[in-house]
Every structure is written in structure tokens, then in C-alpha cells.
């Protein structure tokens, strides 16, 4: 069996285990390549019908194409989509114009998620994080418990082996379910290519630049590239020595910024 096939099957297994073990699941969804791979895998896992809602945390700094993609996908995949905005923080004036990226990311993403966890009482969230994105994500579990305060107790993570995961939570707690944990950026692209998964056009070069990773527009930089095909992206990634999230300002604002963000609920 090819490694890509192994990854697909492992992800499908994780999806189904989550659905069988939790009562109230939701899947944060950001319209990027990882998110779209997740949708594709969920469709396969559940024979064409995703049996839980998707959640878009709209920071109000979304690229217009991503919002257009969101509306297209809502119909195309027949998904139940919940859109969340931290209106309270926006009213307080939290924004990239006035605040540093770590604060804005925490308020408009993590805090927004935290608020909806309280409202919707989700006991499991399916995320698209991967180990190769960041060195703290490299230490994650497939089923990673979070406290009632949405915190990650990375000092004492439960053991996980032979497809047996942490499936019990106390009221108020939830588990992050991470089907793409073992995938690399290259694996995602190889899979998008193998399966023909529709993705936003921003990943392909326009006027000599393209986006490798997509976040809020004020803090997401495009890279120099002339790549216009999936084959081109795969080839480019095989030779690059720049990390995927190099263009994401909040990760690099200070040393260990990601660990601090993630310990407090950031995906």
C-alpha cells in the first residue's frame, strides 16, 4: 500500500472513531488546502454525507476569494455551516490596525472558538493541523484533550497507540480530533492531485506570486512563484527550504509565540 493510501485510511479511521465516540462534534473549517482535504476525507469516511456541522471562524479579515469559496462549497458539498465572528472583540476595536498579530489571532480566532464551545457544547472538534507545520504541533496527539478553559496540557498528554484514543471527557472539556496530524504539506498536495480536490485559485501564481498558506489578509504574505499547476506545486515543495508558515506573521511575533498561542486554545 502506498504511504498516501495509508494516510487516507488512517484519517478515515480517526473520523469514524470520533463520530462513534462523541455526541456533539463540529469541524472548524478555513477553506484552505488542509480544510478541503478534510472535507474530502470526511465525505469518504461517511459514505458521502458529513454528519456534523462545519464551523468557519470569520476573523473579518478573510480574503474575498476565501469567502466566495466558502459559499460555493456550502452548496457543492451540501454542508451544514456555522459562521462565527467575535463581534464583541470587534466592537472593542480589536484589529490588525491597532493590535499586535498575537493578540488579534487570540481574540478573533481562539476566543471566538472558546465562546462558541460554550454556546454549542461541542465535545469534539475536528482540526486540520499537521505535525510538520510547527514544532509544538509535532508533539500533538490524534485525540488531544483540552480543559474546560480550552487549554492544552502538553506536559501530561495521554498515551495513544494501536488506534486507541482518548474518548472520554468531563463536562465542559473537549477533545481535538486531528486526522491530518501525520500528513506533510507535500502529502496534502499529492493527495489534492491524486483526488482532484477543488481548492481556491490563490494557491496558483498570478503576476509572479502565489500563496502557500492562507490566513488573515493583513498578515499573510504571498511568495514569489510562477507555479500554475498542482504538479508545479509538488515540484516546488520538493526543493524549497523555506517553512510553510514563514509567511504567517503571528507565528514569528516573538520566540515560542506558537506554543503560547496553542496552549491557550489556538488550533
Amino acid at each position: 500500500m502506498s504511504y498516501l493510501q495509508h494516510l487516507e485510511d488512517q484519517s478515515i479511521y480517526i473520523f469514524r472513531e470520533a463520530f462513534a465516540n462523541f455526541k456533539n462534534i463540529a469541524m472548524p473549517w478555513s477553506m484552505g488546502k488542509d480544510s478541503n482535504t478534510l472535507i474530502w476525507l470526511a465525505k469518504k469516511a461517511f459514505a458521502g454525507k458529513i454528519p456534523f456541522p462545519l464551523v468557519h471562524i470569520d476573523t473579518t479579515y478573510e480574503f474575498p476569494e476565501m469567502l466566495a469559496f466558502r459559499e460555493w462549497a456550502r452548496k457543492h458539498y451540501e454542508i451544514d455551516l456555522i459562521v462565527i465572528i467575535n463581534e464583541e472583540a470587534r466592537k472593542r476595536g480589536v484589529g490588525y490596525e491597532t493590535h499586535d498579530p498575537v493578540t488579534v489571532t487570540h481574540e478573533l480566532k481562539s476566543a471566538a472558538l472558546q465562546q462558541s464551545l460554550g454556546k454549542y457544547k461541542w465535545d469534539a472538534l475536528v482540526t486540520g493541523i499537521r505535525r510538520d507545520e510547527d514544532s509544538t504541533r509535532a508533539k500533538e496527539r490524534y485525540f488531544s484533550p483540552r480543559t474546560a478553559d480550552n487549554e492544552w496540557e502538553y506536559r501530561d498528554q495521554p498515551p495513544e497507540f494501536w488506534g486507541q484514543f482518548t474518548t472520554a471527557v468531563k463536562p465542559g472539556e473537549h477533545v481535538r480530533v486531528q486526522p491530518l496530524l501525520d500528513w506533510t504539506e507535500l502529502d496534502v498536495w499529492e493527495y489534492v492531485r491524486r483526488e482532484g480536490i477543488p481548492i481556491p485559485k490563490m494557491y496558483f501564481a498570478q503576476n509572479g506570486r502565489r500563496y502557500r498558506s492562507l490566513g488573515c489578509w493583513p498578515i499573510t504574505k504571498s511568495i514569489e512563484s510562477s507555479v500554475e499547476t498542482l504538479e508545479g506545486i509538488v515540484a516546488e515543495l520538493k526543493t524549497t527550504k523555506t517553512s510553510e508558515r514563514a509567511g504567517r506573521a503571528q507565528d514569528h511575533h516573538e520566540r515560542n509565540a506558537m506554543q503560547k498561542l496553542r496552549a491557550k486554545g489556538f488550533l
Partner: protein, 673 residues
């Protein structure tokens, strides 16, 4: 709160009628035989704390040019800021605590590529406190590098990690003797350690592929040879050994079908059975028997969302979803198999377990056993031996509990039947996790399993499930002061079965033991009234008697069954079925010569058979198969009834009486036997 950032110009809006990027020229989907990607091997690096695991991984990444731009420089800068000499470990230890204490707390996975092969390295912590993280990392690996400090030699975690690798099924091991620079690159020291580690791993049935002298810090024999210092080493470098290992790996042959059901979906008109092929292959049209209910249906379709062509066959390791021809009851936790190679279904499990939780696992304390998608409550009923990781010998004293980080050979009893395999028959259905409360506390591999000789007739189309009572067998035993059991008397008509059964019953009863007689003739008046004396009917008669005996024994009684039961096959089937239910079964052969029996002829049956009034009479015109390995033989023609019954009583008491400590732990009344 610091201020905002320089905001770039806002992006342009998107015109109406948006469509994303589509790829009609897709590569072939899941049906495609192989992906375009490189082969990838998952390798865990284990060993005692401070023997240099993170350094070795950092070295591998740096030498193979796998570090992202600026990563090495950033790590060097970080170590300057911390006021420490540069450590390759800084590349991996991402958590603040890890960097500050210079130890790895949790596993990290990191990929690297070299000459067309791809590797995923799992860095496992070596500190004793973090063994649960080491297990998490190692369980995901196909190969392991076991690291030993040349100066310190084999230490506690070196051995424990070796022992855990053997339990986790990671048999592909390369040993790296690290820090050769600290022992002046001495070959003699290397040879000594090589002997030592080969001997230890040999005791675990692990034969390391290579034992390589290296220095991760100096970069010797990791990717590059060091002819100046290690000129005497003619073997491969570590990287060469990894590459060769990958090339040598052959495709494992597929085992018997084990389809673990994860769920049954009814999102539309279809009823889809979703699960994983732990082993074997499934095809449209295959008759699949679902355990533990043993109902059979043929596979109607295999789901193929996103595929261009229908899927007719899927192999080992894949997740599938199927629809079935017949509407049989199937649910999460069921295991599908083909009729010719069924799994074991039993309440008793013999296993080698490891325990990770700080609170020990005690005898008789409940624990959740999770195997594939099954989850059943189980109890540890016996600790046969605890393995000393130091010497791999059994600890001598009797044990009441398995402590943290210990490995033990045990017996577990489940509250309802578990479907499983021996680990060396099907690895994926021969291993389990043990969970107490919300957390996984340990795991184990199943060391032996009694496979049924043939599969009982499967039932189709009925909604049968296993109903679980609240009173466990252990609680009953505690209450009655003894365990239930089946004493199966077999022998010719007139051999003395009934006489012995009646005498044994009163002796047991007088000792406060709940017991009853199950008499073959009596059964034929009611439960088995529809059966004759053909081979099939005799087999069915014994099967029914066995099932009744089981129900009574499970409720706590000592059942004395008194049936001729002439055929070995039928008696064996009852024995297996009782063992599967976790019940004691004793076959007692009532041995009396044919002539003696015929002379006794208490019911005048031999006379009738000789006259041809009865057909198919055992001993006259139907055979009696003598037991090959009875648990006891009573020679009723040679010894008195009192002697026979006395011996039998002794045997039964030993079988059902609780040991002193069991009685205390069971805490019930009784015990005054």
C-alpha cells in the same frame, strides 16, 4: 498591548459566479495501485535519557540537508540566549520546558528525505517519567534505533525500551553505540557493548539488524564515515543501514479477514457498515460472519464516494464501508470474518501486558479492555509472572498487582465475550489497550488463543445481542464462597455415572456448595424430546446439555452432568465453549469394562439392545470413544463407590474453592466451606 502592524492594501473583491480551481485530470483516486510519492519508513529513536537521541536526530536532519532555511541558525541563537553550548537537541525540543531542562518530554515527529527515500523520525523521550510518551511514539513505528552511550553502557531505560519494543511489535531494530568519542573510539569497548546488547535483545527474540559505533555530536558513521577515528569499522553507516532496511522490506502476506466494525450509518436509504480491515481482504459477494453474534451475510456493495469506478475488492489495512445482502443485526464492536478462518470468541484472555499508570493494576479490579473497536469490562484474575526488565527473569514472589512500568504475564476475564486472535496469528486483533477511568493506563498482546475446530451453525436475520447482567462471575463466587464449574461425567451406560453423580451432589451440598445434577435421560424428556439417536441428533443433544450446564455454572452452581456423551468431538466442543466462557470444565471418565456394565444393566437397556428392541445403543451397535486426556478417571469396577467419590470430591473442591485471598478480596459472605 503593543500597537498594530503595517497593513498592506486590501485585496480585490471577487466577481460573482465564482468557481474554484478544478482538476478534471485527476490521478486515479484510491483505486490507484501506488501513489506517485516516495516510500516512507517510520523510525523511532529510543534509549536511556541523555544517551543522545535528540542529538542524533538533529545530526541526521542537518547532514541530509533536511532542515528548513534558518532553522540551524535559529537554534544556535537560542542556545546562545540560554547561555548553553549549541545542542542539536534544540532543533527538536520545542516546548519551553524541554529547552530549559534540556530533556525531551513528549515525542516529536519529523521527516527527512535522502536519495529518493523518505523517513519519518519519531523522537521518544528517554526519561523514566515519560515512558507513556515513549510507548506512544514507538507504537507508531516500523523500525527502531536503540541508542546506547558508549561510556555509560546499557542502563535501565535501554533495557526497558528494548522490552517495550518487543511488546509493541517493533522487531526491526538497529542499535547505535553513541558517543564513541568519549571512549577514545575504542573497538574493544564497542565489542563488549555489542555482545551485551545482542544477548539482552536475543532474550526478547529481537535480532538487531546492525550494531553500529557512532558519534552523533561529531557526525561519525551517521551519514559520513570517519576513517580517522573509526577506521576499524567496516560495517554500514547508520543512514546506509536505514536505506538498506527499507529496500529489504517485503510485503507482508495478508492474514485471515478481520473486519472491525466502527459504525453502521443510515444517513439515507442505505444501511452502511463502516469499519477497518485489520487483516485480510473483502470482496463483493463474500459471505461474512459477524462475531460475536455469528450471523452471516454476503457483501452487496463496497462504498466508493469520490471514485470513478465501482470497487469490488479491498485489502488489508484499508478502511471500508459496505452494504450487505441480508438485513442482519451488526453494530460497532462486531468483527467480520470468513467462515473458514474464524477468530476466537472467549471471555478469558491470556496476555503479556505493560502498565503505565502510577496507580497499579490490582487483581480483581475492573478495567476497560479495548481491542479494535470492542470495549468490554474485564478483571485481572491471575498474575502468572512479572518480568524483571533488568534480567528478563520472572519475579519470584507471588504478586497481587502490576505496578507502573512493569510488564507481566496475566489472565484477564471479560464480562462478555471478546473476539480476538493470538498476537502471532493476527497482530492487529491480538493486542489491546487497558483503560481505567477516562485514561488509557496500559496495553498488552495476547499470547495464546484456543481456536474453535469448526464454526457452529451461523444464524441469520435475527436481532440477537448479548445482554450483560450487573453481577459478575467474581461477585457471585464471592457471595457463594465458591466458583461455578462443570463436572462432566462420561462413560458407558451402567458404568456408574448416576450413582457417582448422586453421591457427589450430596457430599458437595453438605459442604455448602451449590450444586445440581444434569442427567442425560431427564433432558431427553423435555429440552431434547425432539431428538433421536442419529449422529447429528446425539451431537445436538450434547450441545444443548453443554449450553444448559454453562448457564447454570455461570450463575454460580457446580453442575454435575451425567451423560454417556460417546463422541470425543462433542465433548471437546463443550469443553471449548466452557473455556471460552471463562468456566472451569473437568472431564471425568467413568471407566468400567463393557461386561461389568452389561452385567449391572440397572435399567435393562443392554438386554433390550441385545434383543434388537433398541437401535444405536452405545457399546452394542454404536461406538464409545474413550477420552484421550480426561481430567480424572474413576475405575468403578475396581474401587468402591466411596473411594471413587472421595477422590472426585477432592478434585472438585480444589477446582471451585476460593483461595484465602480471593475470599477476602471478594468480600462476600460464604467461605465457610
Amino acid at each position: 498591548m503593543s500597537g498594530g502592524i503595517q497593513i498592506p492594501p486590501a485585496p480585490h473583491p471577487v466577481p460573482a459566479g465564482y468557481e474554484p480551481a478544478f482538476f478534471p485530470e485527476r490521478q486515479g483516486g484510491a483505486g490507484a495501485a501506488g501513489g506517485p510519492e516516495e516510500p516512507r519508513t517510520r523510525i523511532v529513536v529510543v534509549g536511556h535519557v541523555d544517551h543522545g537521541k535528540s542529538t542524533l536526530i538533529g545530526r541526521l536532519l542537518a547532514d541530509t540537508g533536511s532542515l528548513p532555511e534558518g532553522k540551524l541558525e535559529a537554534a544556535e541563537k537560542a542556545s546562545r540566549e540560554e547561555g548553553m553550548p549549541f545542542e542539536y537537541a534544540f532543533l527538536l525540543d520545542a516546548l519551553l520546558e524541554e529547552q530549559a531542562q534540556n530533556i525531551t518530554i513528549d515525542t516529536t515527529r519529523i521527516g527527512f528525505r535522502h536519495e529518493g527515500q523518505s523517513f519519518e523520525i519519531i523522537d521518544a523521550p528517554g526519561h523514566r517519567e515519560f515512558i507513556k510518551n515513549m510507548v506512544t511514539g514507538a507504537a507508531a513505528a516500523e523500525e527502531a534505533i536503540l541508542l546506547i552511550d558508549a561510556k555509560e553502557g546499557c542502563r535501565e531505560q535501554t533495557r526497558r525500551h528494548g522490552l517495550l519494543l518487543s511488546l509493541l511489535g517493533v522487531s526491526q531494530v538497529i542499535v547505535a553505540v553513541n558517543k564513541m568519542d568519549l571512549v577514545d573510539w575504542e573497538e574493544a569497548r564497542y565489542r563488549q557493548l555489542e555482545r551485551e546488547i545482542r544477548e539482552y535483545l536475543g532474550g526478547l527474540k529481537i535480532s538487531p539488524r546492525e550494531v553500529i559505533p557512532i558519534s552523533a555530536r561529531e557526525g561519525a558513521t551517521v551519514m559520513r564515515r570517519d576513517s580517522k577515528n573509526l577506521g576499524w569499522w567496516k560495517g554500514p553507516t547508520l543512514l546506509e543501514a536505514l536505506m538498506i532496511g527499507r529496500a529489504k522490506k517485503t510485503a507482508d502476506s495478508e492474514g485471515p479477514l478481520r473486519f472491525s466494525v466502527q459504525d453502521v450509518y443510515r444517513f439515507d436509504e442505505r444501511r452502511v457498515v463502516a469499519g477497518k480491515l485489520e487483516s485480510g481482504r473483502i470482496r463483493v459477494g463474500d459471505p461474512v460472519v459477524f462475531f460475536p453474534d455469528r450471523k452471516t451475510s454476503r457483501v452487496k456493495t463496497i462504498e466508493a464516494w469520490g471514485e470513478e469506478k465501482a470497487i469490488l475488492e479491498v485489502g488489508e489495512g484499508r478502511c471500508v464501508a459496505v452494504t450487505l445482502e441480508e438485513q442482519i443485526f451488526v453494530e460497532r464492536g462486531h468483527v467480520g470474518s470468513l467462515p473458514e478462518h474464524p477468530p476466537v470468541e472467549s471471555r478469558e484472555v491470556r496476555a503479556r501486558i505493560f502498565w503505565l499508570d502510577s496507580e497499579p493494576l490490582r487483581l480483581q479490579s475492573p478495567v476497560q479492555l479495548r481491542l479494535g473497536t470492542q470495549s468490554v469490562e474485564a478483571r485481572l484474575v491471575a498474575i502468572d509472572r512479572v518480568v524483571d526488565a533488568e534480567k528478563l527473569e520472572a519475579a519470584s514472589e507471588a504478586r497481587e498487582e502490576v505496578g507502573r512500568f512493569e510488564v507481566a504475564e496475566v489472565r484477564l476475564r471479560c464480562r462478555r465475550p471478546l473476539v480476538y486472535d493470538a498476537h502471532d496469528v493476527v497482530a492487529a486483533t491480538g493486542r489491546f489497550a487497558l483503560q481505567r477511568g477516562p485514561r488509557i493506563g496500559g496495553g498488552g498482546i495476547i499470547t495464546s488463543a484456543e481456536y474453535p475446530a469448526s464454526l457452529a451453525r451461523a444464524v441469520t436475520g435475527e436481532h440477537l445481542t448479548w445482554t450483560e447482567g450487573r453481577v459478575s462471575q467474581e461477585a457471585r463466587a464471592g457471595h457463594f464462597g465458591h466458583e461455578g464449574a462443570i463436572i462432566w461425567l462420561t462413560g458407558l451406560s451402567g458404568s456408574g455415572k448416576s450413582t457417582i453423580a448422586v453421591a457427589l451432589e450430596s457430599l458437595l451440598f453438605r459442604r455448602g456448595i451449590g450444586c445440581t445434577i444434569l442427567d442425560g435421560d431427564n433432558l431427553r424428556h423435555g429440552l431434547c424430546a425432539d431428538l433421536g439417536f442419529s449422529l447429528e441428533d446425539r451431537a445436538e443433544n450434547i450441545r444443548r446439555a453443554g449450553e444448559v450446564a454453562k448457564v447454570m455454572a455461570e450463575s454460580g452452581l457446580v453442575v454435575i452432568s451425567s451423560l454417556i456423551s460417546p463422541f470425543r468431538k462433542d465433548r471437546e466442543a463443550v469443553r471449548n465453549s466452557c473455556h471460552a466462557a471463562g468456566l472451569s470444565f473437568s472431564e471425568v471418565y467413568i471407566d468400567a469394562p463393557m461386561e461389568a456394565c452389561e452385567k449391572r444393566d440397572p435399567r435393562g437397556l443392554y438386554r433390550k439392545a441385545r434383543n434388537g428392541e433398541i437401535r444405536g445403543f452405545t457399546g452394542i451397535d454404536s461406538p464409545y470413544e474413550t477420552p484421550e486426556h480426561p481430567d480424572m478417571i474413576l475405575h468403578t469396577a475396581k474401587e468402591s463407590v466411596e473411594d471413587s467419590v472421595g477422590r472426585l470430591l477432592h478434585h472438585v473442591l480444589a477446582l471451585v474453592q476460593l483461595k484465602e485471598e480471593d475470599r477476602e478480596s471478594a468480600g462476600g459472605p460464604g467461605g465457610q466451606i
